[in-house]
């Protein structure tokens, strides 16, 4: 395989043909319901093709003809045992990837028995305090074959260490582990707000995890650069696109500063976007994202390997588009948003459940959500042809427009950072630039809803029937919190405290030296049954804590 394939001079059509010829295809008839045979992709002979630079039309030549997107459902609540049961339900229902939601204390690196964790344990994700919980969480799930994604950021490095350590204790070598660590701390300060350390120290941990995964875990995606939360926090689609890619470039600069050649790690970066209700704008966003990533990675950062230039991304339908009123209608919204993700060429997809404006999903509503993906995948035939909207005057023009507007925002961030995206992203956070822009956009949209300029069915129009719903929602009780504290107490009693303190001491000394990678010390601490809170506390002793200066 030529390293220079992405930039060579032969025609896109020829390169696509070669690439496609080498693809293994799914065994289904690629034809319409009336039997009309379908080409894998359509377009003029000299036009763009999927799997060929700049990848506007998709990262792979054969796209869903080879492999459908991964139906990766995000789940987690209560104790690790409760969540393990839901994971198995998802796999039984045909899900082929897992995505772990952690509870608030875990997201902030607090143990379940911490005073600030009261009332929050297991409520909106699973509580993980030690490697023992990690064992229970993935019990009976073949981590060598099912890939797993972990939505964790501030404590990403210690959670990653616990994950690797539990797999190793089960006899699975780290090199075989496939999956994704979200580990995108920049968007936490910008949007999701689950941060712990000051940004520059937090970025050192990101650097350490990228370096570690690059040298030891060839199947692992060390950062999932996430626009999802930026959008949920209120940004526009253009801002989601631009901020997310800017963050991506910041991680690239970070890893390059650490001495890694761009092509050594860029292929293991992945992305995570929101798919909102404005159907064509979302599709244009996905297409523009791929093109922007490829061109800027090549021209600005000197990437040459195909994998470094091909953007691969996960998509989740928009949580904020769900309504509490007439929640069953959310199934329709989610189906439309999921379809936009698929027509936009996503590599994996989570579909929200209809009850998520009210609570975490029930088993039934989560099953309907995955069935929605299966209808799109197997009944509609939309997966037969790559980038089916490519060439539409409207979609092409909107794609170009999204690209232009995103580049304008890149220029602003570049200026904030005096020519560095990394500095621009960090200073933008420190100066509240991202946060204010997102809040402004959220308020502008809210005003449109209030004035009725944007219609939301069941909210500001067509409200008959709003009182009829008798949907049952999932309830997490304080009983789960009590059980989790008991489990944690048991871990504390049964471990060798001398080994734990020794491991934490070496973590502290490694953290103090910015030249040292903390991952080996974190792995030792995980094996020793140090708790997440203990590891994070050790790191905050060295790094300090971030306090947001918030404004309205």
């Amino acid at each position: 395989m030529s390293d220079q394939r992405g930039t060579s001079e032969s025609s896109a059509g020829d390169r696509w043909r070669d690439e496609f010829a080498g693809s293994v295809l799914r065994r289904v008839p690629f034809e319409t319901m009336s039997g009309i045979p379908l080409e894998p992709v359509y377009g003029p002979a000299d036009g763009e093709r999927p799997g060929v630079y700049p990848y506007t039309r998709g990262p792979y030549a054969s796209m869903y003809r080879s492999k459908l997107w991964t139906m990766r459902m995000f789940a987690g609540f209560g104790t690790a045992t409760d969540s393990n049961r839901r994971f198995r339900d998802i796999i039984d229902a045909g899900g082929d990837g897992l995505s772990t939601a952690f509870d608030m204390p875990t997201l902030l690196g607090l143990d379940s028995d911490h005073p600030l964790a009261r009332g929050e344990v297991g409520r909106c994700g699973v509580a993980i305090d030690s490697i023992n919980d990690m064992h229970d969480l993935y019990e009976g799930i073949d981590l060598g074959s099912i890939t797993t994604s972990m939505t964790i950021n501030a404590p990403a490095a210690p959670i990653f260490a616990m994950f690797i350590a539990q797999a190793e204790e089960k006899g699975i070598p780290r090199a075989r582990l496939g999956g994704t660590l979200q580990n995108d701390i920049l968007k936490e300060y910008q949007a999701q707000k689950e941060f712990v350390f000051p940004p520059r120290h937090a970025m050192r941990l990101v650097r350490d995890t990228i370096s570690f995964a690059t040298s030891e875990m060839p199947r692992w995606h060390s950062v999932s650069i996430s626009g999802y939360h930026i959008r949920e926090a209120g940004s526009t689609a253009v801002e989601e696109l631009a901020f997310t890619l800017a963050n991506g470039f910041a991680y690239v600069e970070l890893a390059r500063r650490a001495g890694l050649p761009v092509d050594a790690f860029a292929g293991r970066l992945s992305f995570f976007f929101n798919s909102h209700i404005d159907f064509f704008e979302e599709i244009a966003k996905f297409r523009a994202a791929r093109r922007l990533w490829a061109t800027i990675m090549r021209d600005r950062y000197g990437a040459t390997q195909e994998r470094s230039l091909q953007m691969r991304f996960h998509t989740q339908t928009a949580g904020v588009s769900l309504t509490a009123q007439q929640p069953e209608v959310n199934i329709v919204r989610t189906a439309i948003e999921a379809l936009a993700g698929v027509l936009g060429g996503t590599q994996s997809l989570h579909t929200n459940s209809m009850d998520e404006a009210l609570a975490l999903p029930t088993e039934k509503s989560a099953r309907i959500a995955i069935r929605t993906q299966q209808v799109i995948a197997h009944e509609t035939n939309v997966a037969h042809v790559a980038d089916p909207l490519g060439g539409s005057y409207f979609v092409e023009s909107l794609t170009d427009e999204m690209e232009v507007r995103a580049r304008e925002i890149f220029d602003e961030i570049d200026r904030l950072g005096d020519g560095s995206m990394l500095e621009g992203c960090i200073r933008g956070i420190e100066e509240n630039w991202f946060q204010s822009r997102i809040a402004d956009s959220a308020y502008e949209l809210e005003k449109k809803f209030n004035k009725g300029d944007r219609v939301v069915v069941g909210v500001n129009r067509y409200t008959e029937g709003n009182q009829d719903s008798d949907l049952e929602t999932l309830r997490i009780t304080s009983e789960d919190e009590r059980r989790q504290r008991e489990r944690l107490g048991e871990v504390r009693r049964q471990r060798d405290t001398a080994v734990v303190s020794e491991a934490l001491d070496s973590l502290r000394s490694d953290a103090t030296n910015p030249e040292v990678n903390v991952m080996p010390a974190l792995l030792r601490a995980a094996h020793a049954r140090a708790t997440l809170g203990e590891m994070m506390h050790t790191l905050t002793d060295v790094f300090g804590r971030h306090v947001e200066v918030s404004s309205i």
């Binding site: 608030m104 997201l107 929050e120 909106c124 941060f195 926090a233 309205i552």
Partner: protein, 128 residues
């Protein structure tokens, strides 16, 4: 008289889109709005309410911890002899509304509340 409102994020929940939108809605409706910022405790919210001498305290909650934390905020306020009514908004299932009201919460605004309802709830509370 201008109504003074403290809007607060209590607990570990970082979802601040709602609280910021509500803060601006209230400000545009003529209220003086003070925002605590993230990760407050019931104690720090009560202390801020007293310091700022507010007429209403609004809590924005999206992490499911409302049944634990909202009653504690009411308790801390009353312990400091602050009688400001407490309004809770966010992802609050209908089944939890009675429990919150029994714990002394004045108004509960669920996930479907409109901007007008939010403003009416706060101004209504302040008047009574």
């Amino acid at each position: 008289m201008t109504i003074r409102v403290l809007v607060a994020k209590v607990g570990l929940d970082g979802h601040d889109r709602g609280v910021k939108v509500v803060a601006r809605l209230l400000r545009d409706a003529g209220c003086e709005v003070i925002y605590t910022g993230l990760f407050q405790t019931p104690e720090s919210v009560a202390a801020a309410a007293l310091d700022e001498d507010v007429d209403v305290v609004g809590l924005s909650m999206h992490s499911g911890a409302h049944l634990t934390l909202a009653p504690l905020v009411v308790e801390e306020l009353r312990r400091r002899e602050c009688s400001a009514p407490v309004v809770v908004g966010g992802i609050i299932p209908a089944g939890d509304v009675d429990d919150l009201k029994q714990a002394g919460v004045a108004v509960v605004l669920g996930p479907g509340a409109s901007a007008d309802e939010v403003v009416a709830a706060v101004t209504g509370c302040a008047a009574s």
